[in-house]
């Protein structure tokens, strides 16, 4: 009896390997520097992870649906620049700038979704192309200039990035809220089930009467929506943006999603695990910074952690540490 209980505990632990790694990691850093788990710092990390995290939520849908989205970084730059520009435009102002920016970003997501979902083009290449094209679009839009809010005192726009409610920073609330919402969408609704089915076996999904193209299309819209939200926070937090704010984030986002245990082949992963993946990356960055290590040590550590985490994950699944490839 005790034996089976221990076994099933073991199985649960094995499945939550990433969570355990996270806890151990936090404990280690906390022992090293108690400031690490000070409430301020934890909030600080979660807040600064919020942008990456919200993007990762959207990309989780895309990846579970069996595709990639490398365009989120340039899309973030785009949405931040656009919302700031419209904010400064007297015809818009903050109240109109935000919905207009969301609409424009969703259009970009729709292009991704159309090309990949309906035309069935390869997602890696399409989103790579979009990465470049959206960057060009952003530069054209901004004329290469930074966008800044001139009169920061006179706008309520800062609330998304700087405000807080009940003592919790708004970006953290948005991250948590979106994570909960999207988590439920993915885990509990028919749409979520369809995303798993399409990513797990697109052909079988089609044979089961699931509108594969539409599902893929929607995952890209969700991704774009998340990017727009992240862009809003980004713009609001810094009250200004460069054309390159999001550059390189696509791979960080992907790393977080993978670290959370989503398979690049599609069909597996959860929102909760992605959140853990995001937090691990955020706390590594913060912990190493607090430890006074150079930023590049963080690169090396991230490398090792990603590979170990994914390795352990698949090793528990196949029941063997070493791969059976001859």
């Amino acid at each position: 009896m005790a034996d089976t209980a221990a076994k099933s505990l073991g199985r649960v632990l094995a499945r939550q390997g990433i969570l355990i790694a996270f806890v151990i990691f936090m404990l280690g850093f906390a022992l090293w520097n108690p400031r690490f788990i000070a409430v301020d710092n934890v909030f600080g990390v979660v807040r600064s992870s919020a942008i990456l995290g919200i993007m990762a939520l959207g990309v989780t849908f895309v990846v579970i649906g069996g595709n990639l989205d490398l365009s989120v970084g340039s899309m973030l730059s785009f949405s931040a620049i656009v919302v700031l520009d419209l904010h400064e435009n007297p015809a818009f102002g903050p109240a109109l700038a935000i919905p207009a920016m969301f609409a424009m970003t969703l259009c970009l997501g729709a292009i991704n979704g159309y090309l990949i979902g309906y035309l069935r083009l390869n997602s890696l290449i399409v989103t790579l192309g979009m990465l470049s094209a959206i960057h060009g679009l952003t530069l054209t839009y901004s004329g290469g200039q930074n966008m800044d809010i001139a009169n920061q005192g006179a706008t309520w726009f800062g609330v998304f990035g700087r405000g807080s409610a009940l003592g919790i920073p708004i970006p953290v609330l948005l991250f948590a809220g979106l994570a909960a919402l999207l988590g439920i969408l993915l885990a509990r609704t028919p749409f979520g089930r369809k995303v798993y089915a399409v990513g797990g076996n697109g052909t079988a999904a089609t044979f089961s009467g699931i509108p594969r193209a539409r599902v893929v299309f929607l995952t890209y819209l969700i991704s774009a929506f998340c990017v727009a939200t992240a862009g809003l926070i980004q713009a609001s937090r810094t009250m200004g943006a460069q054309n390159t704010v999001g550059q390189g984030m696509e791979l960080e986002v992907l790393a977080a999603v993978i670290l959370g245990g989503a398979s690049l082949l599609g069909g597996s992963g959860t929102v909760f695990k992605t959140v853990i993946g995001v937090l691990i990356l955020g706390f590594i960055q913060n912990g190493l910074l607090l430890a006074g290590l150079q930023f590049y040590v963080q690169f090396v550590v991230t490398w090792i952690i990603i590979i170990l985490a994914v390795w352990l994950d698949i090793a528990t699944k196949r029941g063997k540490l070493w791969s059976p490839i001859a």
Binding site: S48, Q145, M239, G240, Q242, L289
Partner: protein
């Protein structure tokens, strides 16, 4: 005069407003002069692409070439090729390494080492005014690792600070990659880590404002002296609000016009000084009214 063609290969247009404004100013200045045609290229921050562009310009046999190096050393052999092809080369904004000086007619741009030094002086003067010059603790947020401008500004600052304020400690440096968001994140960590920060030096105002934002959010901005470089409009505005202390005034328009003029002077056979710095004065809350708000 006979019409001349001048080629320029820039570092990375669009990465920030400075470089974009530079490009616009350069093209505008060239259009003013009916005898000048320009070929404007952008290396996108990639050395390999810049070297290719230099080679292309050599092949097109432009009359003179202006280079904004992505890497002050790697372009030297390509510059030599231009030199050997008889094309005068002018380096702009950030200089190439000394080995290349033989192949270059002139450098036109700001003196980044001096800028770093001046920033140290601004900071020190402020501490003295506050009477904390013997205990102040400073953190530094540097530009993109590996870029000449970032390196020179940091070294200028780090060398000059102990000379003027020997008892001020520079506790830590981290790069902010010319990126406001990253600078903000770095500053947040600094604020958690150090209870006592009296000054922040940032490699440019863009990052400086990121650091300021972090301090404002933590409610500690009033205790900190923020000094930056390359006064951006955001920095200027923050100074006006009294949140940001000082910076170095550097105009991309001056930068671009100086480069073009230097090239024209060289082509006209004039005697041009090798180091052709344009002035980049200190700007602080105290003297800011003497300067126009930057356009970028």
């Amino acid at each position: 005069a006979q019409s001349v063609t001048i080629g320029i290969t820039q570092n990375n247009v669009g990465v920030d407003s400075y470089q974009t404004t530079y490009e616009q100013a350069f093209i505008a200045a060239a259009e003013q002069n009916p005898d000048v045609e320009v070929v404007v290229l952008d290396a996108g921050g990639d050395v390999a692409r810049q070297i290719a562009q230099i080679q292309d310009l050599v092949q097109q046999q432009v009359d003179a070439m202006i280079i904004w190096p992505t890497n002050g050393q790697a372009v030297i052999p390509a510059v030599r090729q231009a030199h050997q092809a008889g094309i005068p080369v002018i380096v702009t904004n950030s200089n190439i390494a000394e080995e290349g000086f033989d192949f270059v007619r002139s450098f036109s741009g700001p003196d980044n080492v001096t800028q770093g030094a001046r920033a140290a002086e601004i900071m020190c003067d402020r501490f003295k005014a506050q009477g904390i010059e013997d205990e102040a603790r400073v953190v530094q947020i540097t530009g993109q690792p590996g870029y000449t401008t970032a390196i020179e500004r940091a070294s200028g600052f780090e060398e000059r600070l102990p000379e003027v304020c020997p008892n001020v400690t520079l506790v830590e440096s981290q790069p902010g990659n010319w990126n406001r968001e990253e600078a903000q994140r770095v500053m947040e960590a600094f604020l958690v880590k150090y209870d006592d920060i009296d000054g922040v030096y940032s490699g440019d105002d863009n990052m400086g404002v990121g650091a300021l934002n972090a301090a404002l959010a933590a409610g500690r901005a009033a205790d900190i002296t923020f000094v930056g470089a390359t006064n951006f409009a955001v920095g200027y505005d923050a100074m006006e609000r009294g949140e940001y202390w000082g910076s170095i005034y550097q105009s991309p328009v001056d930068d671009a016009e100086a480069a073009l003029q230097t090239a024209l002077d060289v082509l006209a056979g004039e005697d041009v000084p090798f180091l052709n710095y344009f002035d980049t004065p200190k700007i602080t809350q105290e003297n800011m009214t003497e300067f126009d708000r930057p356009v970028f």
